[in-house]
Chain length 122, copies 10
């Protein structure tokens, strides 16, 4: 089940602000109503303040949702909250993109902080 | 015929504002003039205030237009009005994308509320 | 030859502002210099005030340019003027996209009114 | 060699501001260092004030660079200067897109005047 | 190993501000933890003040990372710092795009100076 | 319900063999088990012997499946049989392409007669 | 109206067999039933025996169909017959690709002679 | 764990041979060496003799591999064997397409019986 | 002007037959009628017998057509003949792909020898 | 330097013939003439007889070419020979796809044994 203790960090290598994006196209969890698996991708974007998330630990954190019965909206908000708590970033955006059920594809976007000027208009 | 009573909701899982997008590429209604079927996709984007729309009920609501004779513009405005009444969202955007008749493809966009900053520029 | 009397309208189905886009990828007129046919697409976007353009009448209006010798820029400005006169819209944008001559593709954009906030950034 | 006298103009067909874009994907000049040919595309965007550039004359002007030894940056700034002198436009943007040498693709963008509101966000 | 002395410059050919973008899709360095090679692309965008970077020297500078064990974030910030020191540009943006490890693709964006108006909204 | 009497024909305009392909991307029927609509495209390919199918009658025939509860495999075989009976073609191929249920997309291919040499390898 | 006298030829530059393909994506004729224009592309492939078709004359021949009321199948067979009579080729294939009416796209393929071995499997 | 008892069949609706293809882009199993999840798609193609596989039962059969530690090659051959035993088809092809590990994407293809003439060259 | 003396070869590194393909997307020559430049790509495929063409010499050979007035068909047959004379290959195919004039794109294919089994069906 | 001792195998899990394809899009070696790195992808396809190549060992084998000065044709034939010696497959195909130098992209294809019927026409 989702376990934010899996997340590890390392010190940011620069004091000048910069942006990081990690896209994981191999994500799966389980629909809590039907028990069928959901498939999607997870996009994490953030401007670090003091620490960055270690990539392999992020992957293991994602894998901890594999057999969890959980709604799209809850996956998105849980990840946003866990990563904000762990990274204390200046800005963070968590986007989940679901392959869909019954012909409907869904995208959920949760944020923390103001969009940095250098990301606007992208 | 279109029936907004099919729409069901659940409580939003987070008090922090976030955005939801549902894209249904399998939509059909009927042209009220020629009686021929129209095919298109329906995109719903919104920032929930207190409730979210349940996905299967949204699908059944879309299906209730299947044999209705109704113009593109009326489908779009009816859905915007029904969903705003049901969800009372901070912001909502309803986009219909039609495969076209006689070589002309159409897109109709109806909105409610101000575009959230985190959606601008997308 | 171009005939704006072909354009018909119907009353807008909603008092709440919304946006309409019609894309016709099957347009042809004639180059007034060489006599060779020009091929392109016509995109009409507008925010209706009181009336909307009827789709089949728009198609017949486009077809009235078929054997007219007329420059790209004149097609674009003529259509903008004819449609503004007919629809009295809050905002209107007319874009013509030409397949090109001698290896050069062209796009001409004419507008009327201020871009609505819900269209910006698209 | 580059010859701005090839450029011809015609009077703009409308006093209402509008935008013009011409994309030529068939451009070649010569690298002044290696003598090897460079291939790219030239995009011209502008808002005319009084005159528009005639399309065939633009093509011949582009062809006058064919056997010229000239750097990317110089092609771009020369074209911007020649076209501004010839058209006296409200706004003009000249973008060159190069297929690349040694695995590096380049794009150079030169401008004149403020970006019109109807082009922003495109 | 990364060697900023490889970078060479030439005087900018125009006093009017303009923008330059170089995309190198053939970049490789080494993961300092696993020793496996990383593959990605490097995008450099800048508005020159007095000098431009010479293209072949940029390529050799990129090649100097080939067998260096270095993290994504460090590649990005090192290149930003080296190029800002060398070019003293009005604005500079350095984007690295990594093919990914364990199913996660990453993009890192580092900047210097304010985004020029003519680049916004691109 | 499916009605092959809607199909009309006209005499083939040439005695030299040739091939015809009609692709309808706007097809819908109903799943006989769940009652949910199915969406797909229908591709008809044939080499006429004496008659060709009239295009508008083919469209009306497709529309007669709109509210029929019928499996993918039955749609495909019914159409193949109806069209072979109506057209008596030298060769005929009927392909249905379904958008899918529960994440699985399906394609069903039914044929009549030997593949013509001029179609092989396409 | 269609005029095969517009077609001109030149002597084939090689006695060794080779293949020629010309694709015209800018073709229009008129539907003889509705009077609405049809849009499509014309692909001509052939192995010349003694003569090749001159490209500009082929374009003018295509343009002679512009205001002709004629069915898809008749366009295809007429062009095949006219070009076989004019070129006497070893092999010839004429493919017309129509943008469609009422949601149905069509492709008609007419041939002359056996497919050359070097074209098979393409 | 993989359970072929989940597979259900229904009688084929036609005695004339035809082909069926089901593509499931939402498949996951586990690498038996590293314990990390593998993601891929499963394509089943077959010519039924007496029975067809029921679609929902095929989906549940695929899901039974979700937490199984199993190599790519074994998934492919197990599925081919299970489906041949269950369907006794004239021809069957099972293709697995894996998103890859360490930058290498893999495709495994197992077959039963001779490729039908109507599938060749596709 | 075209100069086959520019072509250089090296001994094939293997006695086992293999296939080589070189695609040059940066080719230009001149239309002998209008004097306007033609742009296209050149694809060379062959099975070497004793020697392979050296890549830089192939590039210089292509560049020798830059300012030559020459038809599409002549470029193709000249290159086929020059390369067959130089390489004495088991099989050779020369394909030229032209961006087109007046809306018509052309492809010319010339060959030497029988298509190898391992290339068929590609 | 290239080291075929890195290759490891495991016993094939099925006695029924099947096909395996591994695509590595992250390959680099060095040009023996210029010393600049070459980038490309390596595609291995084979029908195993008794053993399959272990995926991680294949990756390490590819990495052993990283700093080797070696021509395209030699990479391809060396890999074909090493893998045939190691796997003794019924059929094997080795394709290298190079990003190109001086605007020319190359593909080299080496084979061993006859193409299996189930691969033909793909």
């Amino acid at each position: 089940m989702p376990d934010s203790n899996l997340l590890e960090t390392f010190e940011t290598p620069s004091e000048t602000p910069f942006l990081i994006e990690h896209v994981n196209e191999e994500f799966t969890s389980v629909c809590p109503v039907t028990g069928h698996p959901d498939f999607g991708s997870i996009t994490l974007r953030y401007q670090p303040s003091k620490v960055c998330v270690e990539l392999k630990s992020l992957k293991l954190y994602h894998q901890s949702f594999r057999n969890e019965g959980i709604f799209y909206e809850a996956v998105t908000n849980t990840m946003r909250d866990d990563l904000v708590a762990c990274l204390q970033p200046t800005w963070l955006q968590l986007v989940t993109n679901w392959k869909g059920r019954g012909g409907i594809r869904s995208t959920i976007t949760a944020s923390h902080g103001d969009v940095p000027q250098s990301w606007q208009g992208k």
